[in-house]
């Protein structure tokens, strides 16, 4: 059997003397969509930043497709195939849409194939093709989110992580975004998705993890989780 697309074991990290992750274990099978949910401040973003090498891990390991990437610098993590669309979009706000996408294709492998990938991204988000020379900061929130996802796709990821892609989006935009994600899923790609929109995301995910207090407290398939009483009580206020 092939090794998991992403495997996180016993990961610890934090900021200065603030400890945020206290032993996180996650596995992403190839081609799967996995949801990660948890309260605000639970450490979801921190997990992604730690995997990306932006926050140093104090213990634990991360593997991509069987290759260990713990403690690699960020750009090597991207080369290894883990790419995220960060929380709050984090566009290069003074640069055009096209430039934002091109920065995404910075790595050697991605750079070589950038023209093909660009066509695919434009297929996925036709509006971006129209607005290719618009300055990113003047786009609407939904469009900005598309740029962020598109930029991540430009790096030819094996594992695509989306951190709260629906944040700040009108529900109708959220629906569209989730449609797009469904289409991305059709490509040979694993997706790790963090969402507040728990219902929607668990419906589309193959599997879900709940992060609480820096540890995984619960995991299971979407429907299982949705049926879980604890989860319903904590996150849905039901």
């Amino acid at each position: 059997m092939s090794s998991p697309a992403l495997k996180v074991k016993g990961l610890h990290s934090g900021y200065g003397d603030i400890r945020v992750l206290r032993g996180v274990d996650i596995e992403l099978p190839p081609g799967a969509v996995v949801a990660l949910i948890g309260a605000n401040g639970a450490g979801k973003t921190t997990l992604l930043r730690t995997i990306s090498g932006l926050v140093p891990a104090s213990a634990g390991s991360v593997e991509i497709g069987g290759t260990p990437i713990t403690a690699l610098p960020s750009h090597r993590v991207v080369e290894a195939g883990f790419v995220q669309s960060p929380e709050g979009k984090q566009l290069f706000s003074g640069m055009s849409v096209m430039e934002n996408l091109m920065v995404g294709a910075h790595g050697r492998r991605a750079h070589a194939r950038r023209h093909e990938t660009l066509e695919e991204v434009f297929d996925l988000f036709p509006i971006l093709k129209e607005r290719r020379s618009q300055i990113a900061s003047t786009l609407s929130g939904g469009q900005q989110q598309m740029v962020a996802v598109g930029r991540a796709l430009m790096a030819l990821p094996r594992v695509l992580a989306l951190d709260e892609p629906s944040l700040g989006l009108a529900p109708i935009m959220v629906d569209r975004l989730f449609e797009s994600i469904a289409r991305i899923k059709a490509r040979d790609l694993s997706i790790l998705i963090i969402e507040q929109n728990v219902f929607q995301v668990l419906e589309m995910a193959d599997y879900g993890y709940v992060l609480e207090n820096g540890q995984i407290s619960l995991s299971g398939t979407g429907p299982d989780l949705l049926a879980d009483a604890h989860l319903r009580a904590t996150y849905l206020g039901l």
Binding site: G16, D17, I18, A39, N40, G41, A42, G141, L167, G168, L169, P171, V174, D175, Q196, N197, F199, Q200, E203, E212, N213, A233, T234, L236, G237
Partner: protein, 245 residues
């Protein structure tokens, strides 16, 4: 009847082309806990910041016990009797818990002894007495949130504005926080609370406001509001409505 403690009258705020808050009006009575809900980007924090004096409203008035405080500087608003907490908690990391609490006390008085006594009392109130001398940056995330609340209390406000106080808390911590906010009210402080966690809002609020795209779309008792179709649609998304229905 005399004037409500807080009366917000048609405040608006634009950021460039974006109308973040539009004609928002509501009242808050003395002793009330009022919840403010709304999807991300609805304008809650912006409204909150206008009341707390961090933004000057483009239009409208904010009356605290009948006195317009809109456009006052944050420190003057604090002295007028409005305390606030921040969405991202911002304790003074180099100072100990008690010292953090004392900073707030200086807003009202220069009497060190009195302030220290008050700070210690609040540390006990928060359940942080064992950590009173701990430097704030060594606190856990949740303790920092409590400290954030206590620091606002130490300015002896009449109204406390709280932005997402339980974000990041575990369920049991949330329970503790809910109890704490109730006891804040028992101290005679009215509360305006912005919160995403429904359970907290439902448990705490006497009344709930719901904002969407800068405007108020609902105002009422918690149970009534969450079952209103408008709110369900705006806040929880259409798919959420289906399983509930």
């Amino acid at each position: 009847m005399n004037a409500p403690l807080l009366s917000v009258e048609a405040i608006s705020k634009r950021f460039g082309g974006l109308q973040a808050v539009k004609d928002l009006s509501f009242r808050l009575e003395e002793g009330e806990i009022l919840g403010l809900l709304g999807p991300n980007g609805a304008g809650k924090t912006t409204a909150f910041n206008m009341i707390a004096g961090f933004f000057r409203p483009d239009e409208g008035r904010v009356l605290l016990a009948g006195r317009n405080v809109a456009g006052l500087k944050p420190w003057d608003i604090c002295k007028a009797g409005i305390g606030r907490t921040f969405q991202l908690s911002k304790p003074f990391g180099d100072l100990s818990v008690v010292e953090n609490l004392m900073v707030g006390g200086f807003a009202r008085s220069s009497d060190r002894r009195r302030i220290r006594t008050l700070a210690e009392e609040i540390a006990v109130f928060l359940g942080l007495e064992a950590k009173a001398e701990t430097e704030a940056h060594n606190l856990t995330a949740f303790d920092r949130r409590k400290l954030e609340l206590g620091r606002a209390l130490s300015t002896e406000p009449r109204l406390l504005l709280m932005d997402e106080v339980v974000a990041g808390a575990t369920p049991s911590e949330a329970v503790e926080m809910v109890a704490l906010v109730r006891r804040v009210r028992e101290r005679g402080v009215s509360v305006l609370i912005v919160e995403h966690v429904m359970k907290v809002i439902m448990a705490l609020s006497d009344r709930v406001l719901v904002m969407d795209r800068g405007a108020l779309i609902a105002d009422g008792r918690p149970q009534e509001v969450v079952t209103s179709p408008d709110v369900l649609k705006a806040y929880f998304g259409e798919r959420y409505v289906v399983p509930r229905a």
